[in-house]
């Protein structure tokens, strides 16, 4: 089989697709917390995507992609049998897996998929694993059955109360604390505000939080430095030093500002793409 070929494709909801991609070298060396860089076409962006699963026997890796901008929308239009143009990795420093005691894995939105391999590795290392999952609504809450099957306890929250607890992941964590649950380490993946407030809370409660950062990246190999983040007052490159960092002292506000830099241009690009995709040509030449 050709490398980068999509072996299977599953639509998880309107905007989220799960891909299994043939890439034996990455499948062989991947570890929890690492990511790959995907590219879909000539002229396309290099998009960092967290590895959700890998199977060295089959030579496949699994990623879950939420369509947000043009590139991710184009990725999600790819079908089984088609291929990504480039798949590079595994990139980043793996999460330190050991027996912490009791750990909480906290996933927000598509971050649930990204925190899943970490939960699995922590479980295999003998931890008691509590999953705290959050999404805007029931539709967007993914991978809950898998998490339930894996973890000692799984708590789901939705912003609108359409499933599980109504509220935020922070509400669920406070409740765990109130119940007397002693959590030795936390691993958080989700939108930046969610990671910021969850880190702040878990730190206050002495839960030793870590967060996986998603700054803008280009090469993903430490070459360009555009993923600079500030951790413990020091500049780190998320692509090689991270993406997972102890999150007590992460400057989330700086991360937020730096990731917003291209938002207007990304919007312009997405709108142009959608317009061209939806445009039905009447010129008769196609």
């Amino acid at each position: 089989m050709q490398e980068n070929t999509i072996v299977s494709r599953k639509q998880l909801n309107d905007v989220v697709v799960k891909f299994e991609i043939y890439k034996p070298l990455i499948a062989k060396s991947a570890k929890a917390g690492q990511f790959v860089i995907l590219r879909g076409r000539e002229g396309g962006e290099r998009v960092p995507v967290t590895l959700v699963d890998w199977n060295s026997a089959k030579g496949t890796i699994t990623v879950i992609i939420q369509a947000i901008g043009k590139s991710t929308s184009m990725f999600n239009s790819l079908q089984e049998g088609e291929a990504f143009l480039n798949v590079a990795g595994p990139l980043g420093t793996p999460v330190e897996i050991k027996n912490y005691g009791t750990v909480a894995v906290v996933g927000g939105g598509v971050g649930i998929a990204e925190v899943y391999p970490i939960a699995r590795a922590l479980k295999e290392a003998g931890n008691k694993v509590i999953a705290v999952l959050g999404a805007r609504n029931k539709e967007l809450l993914i991978l809950e059955p898998e998490m339930k099957a894996l973890c000692d306890q799984t708590i789901s929250t939705t912003d609108d109360g359409s499933y599980g607890l109504k509220g935020m992941v922070t509400d669920a964590i406070e409740a765990l604390h109130d119940q007397g649950e002693k959590i030795n380490a936390g691993f958080i993946i989700g939108p930046i505000p969610m990671m910021k407030f969850t880190s702040r809370l878990m730190d206050k409660l002495g839960m030793n939080p870590h967060a996986s950062l998603n700054p803008i990246m280009l090469d993903g190999t430490g070459m360009c430095g555009c993923c600079r983040v500030t951790v413990e007052g020091k500049v780190k490159f998320a692509c090689v030093d991270g993406p997972m960092f102890p999150s007590k002292t992460i400057d989330f506000d700086e991360l937020m500002r730096r990731t917003s830099e291209y938002k207007p241009l990304e919007k312009e690009s997405l709108e142009k793409y959608q317009h061209e995709k939806d445009h039905v040509c009447k010129c008769g030449l196609h």
Partner: protein, 462 residues
């Protein structure tokens, strides 16, 4: 008869007012007549100083003699006996420091324009189908892998293929050429020139594989199980930042990021391409090396009001190739000397709004003989800017050293080598910026060629 007293032809450069609005090549090739006339100026010195001062030993008087006779196929073959990338070298070598800087005509009439003659020869031979990859020796059955596809690895790969080995090149990015691709802009080195030179090496049987980051996708130790020798030419892919307060403000780029967006990702074509780039009205570039000139000239082409290069020493100490400084000036880049950056000032949204400097005077010479900048107390002032590009150098990418504990490094992070160019791990050789920490294309090529010769000797005894 040689005609040394004819004026040196500097070639045609597109007018600054035109070229600063596009990414097309600035310097245009000689016509046949111009090339022949420039070749006529060469005295064909017996102990040619130009050739002796070429790091890769190009047989300069000999190839120029062929150009003079219009024998372009022979001319290019003569160059390619020692250098396989003539179209690239002719464009990006610092000739004034090597061949042209040592031409006997330099003082009296101006050096022969060897750089332009080299690229004329390479481009013309390519167009006329006269450029042929060198013959390769019978297969040895030995396998060698080159890490990285920049100038050092390409040169090593070609040399190894020439000796009959089976050669694979692993590149971490999606496109080949390393710094030629992500660092050097198309107005200095058109993308198709890189493509052509790589095609030549491919035609010698070298296999190029993208998306393999050695140290992550596979380790050096894993490669040693599959290959008989390894050449590490992974370059200086780690940007140096200033470390001054505020450097993570929005609108602060490393030169690597800025140049990679433009050159590798073609962000200047956005939204036809998908990677964006933003430029403000007032751009400051820190540093005065080739990357700084490239960044400043790229920035200029994105249409800001001003681009200013700020350098901590004086004009005389600028490390950039002379022609690049000249071109930058012609295109309207301003130069401010003897300034040390102190702090990035940001506005209330976190975006850079200015840069605080102190003024320097020149003190005693440092180890390299360049006079050291010394701060003048109380000289602080701010230059307003909304884009800052930090181009003060690169260090070796640490990923291979980090994942290969057996490879010793120096405190600067460069691979430690013995006199034979071997690393501390048997069968592993290295060259280019990974051992130099940020030098030139030409020196990287020289390392690649020399390491390949040592690998050939090593494999013969294996």
């Amino acid at each position: 008869m040689p005609n040394p007293s004819a004026p040196r032809n500097n070639g045609y450069q597109v007018e600054p007012e035109v070229r600063k609005h596009n990414f097309e090549e600035v310097a245009r090739s000689f016509t046949d007549e111009q090339a022949r006339a420039e070749a006529q100026r060469c005295l064909h010195c017996k102990n040619a100083r130009c050739q002796a001062n070429c790091p890769v030993g190009v047989q300069i008087p000999d190839f120029i003699a062929y150009v003079k006779e219009g024998k372009i196929g022979e001319a290019v073959s003569k160059i390619m006996e020692t250098s396989l990338l003539p179209a690239i070298c002719g464009r990006v070598c610092p000739q004034e420091k090597h061949c042209e800087g040592n031409c006997v005509l330099k003082e009296k009439f101006g050096s022969v324009n060897i750089g332009m003659l080299e690229r004329y020869t390479a481009d013309t031979a390519r167009k006329q189908g006269l450029l042929q990859a060198p013959q390769t020796a019978p297969k040895t059955g030995k396998k060698v892998v080159c890490i990285g596809s920049g100038p050092s690895s390409i040169a090593a790969a070609a040399e190894l293929a020439r000796a009959g080995h089976e050669v694979t090149v692993f590149e971490a990015l999606h496109a080949f050429g390393g710094v030629l691709r992500y660092g050097i802009p198309s107005f200095r080195l058109p993308r198709e020139v890189i493509d052509h030179e790589i095609e030549t090496v491919k035609s010698m049987g070298v296999k190029f594989v993208p998306d393999v980051l050695v140290g992550a996708t596979q380790t050096v130790q894993e490669l040693l199980k599959e290959f008989d020798a390894v050449y590490v030419g992974s370059g200086a892919g780690l940007p140096t930042m200033t470390g001054i307060p505020g450097e993570n403000a929005v609108g602060v780029y490393s030169a690597n990021e800025f140049l990679t967006r433009i050159n590798l990702m073609q962000a200047y074509k956005f939204p036809a391409t998908d990677t964006p780039i933003k430029i403000g009205k007032h751009v400051i570039v820190l540093g005065a090396g080739n990357s700084a000139m490239d960044a400043a000239r790229c920035a200029m082409r994105l249409g800001p009001d001003t681009v200013t290069i700020a350098y901590r020493r004086s004009a005389a100490e600028m490390p950039a190739r002379a022609a690049e400084v000249e071109h930058a000036k012609e295109e309207g880049v301003a130069f401010e000397f003897l300034l040390t950056p102190k702090e990035v000032i940001a506005d209330e949204t976190g975006r850079v709004s200015g840069l605080k400097f102190t003024r320097n005077e020149l003190g005693e010479p440092d180890a390299k003989g360049r006079r050291r900048p010394v701060e003048i107390p109380g000289s602080e002032f701010v230059i307003p800017a909304d884009t800052l590009i930090v181009a003060i150098g690169q260090r070796p990418n640490p990923i291979i050293a980090k994942t290969t504990p057996e490879l010793k490094t120096t405190e600067r992070g460069v691979l430690d080598m013995d006199e034979q160019g071997k690393t501390s791990l048997p069968g592993v050789y290295a060259g280019g910026d990974i051992i130099r920490g940020g030098a030139t294309v030409l020196l990287a090529m020289k390392d690649g060629i020399e390491a390949a010769k040592r690998i050939n000797a090593y494999l013969e005894g294996k």
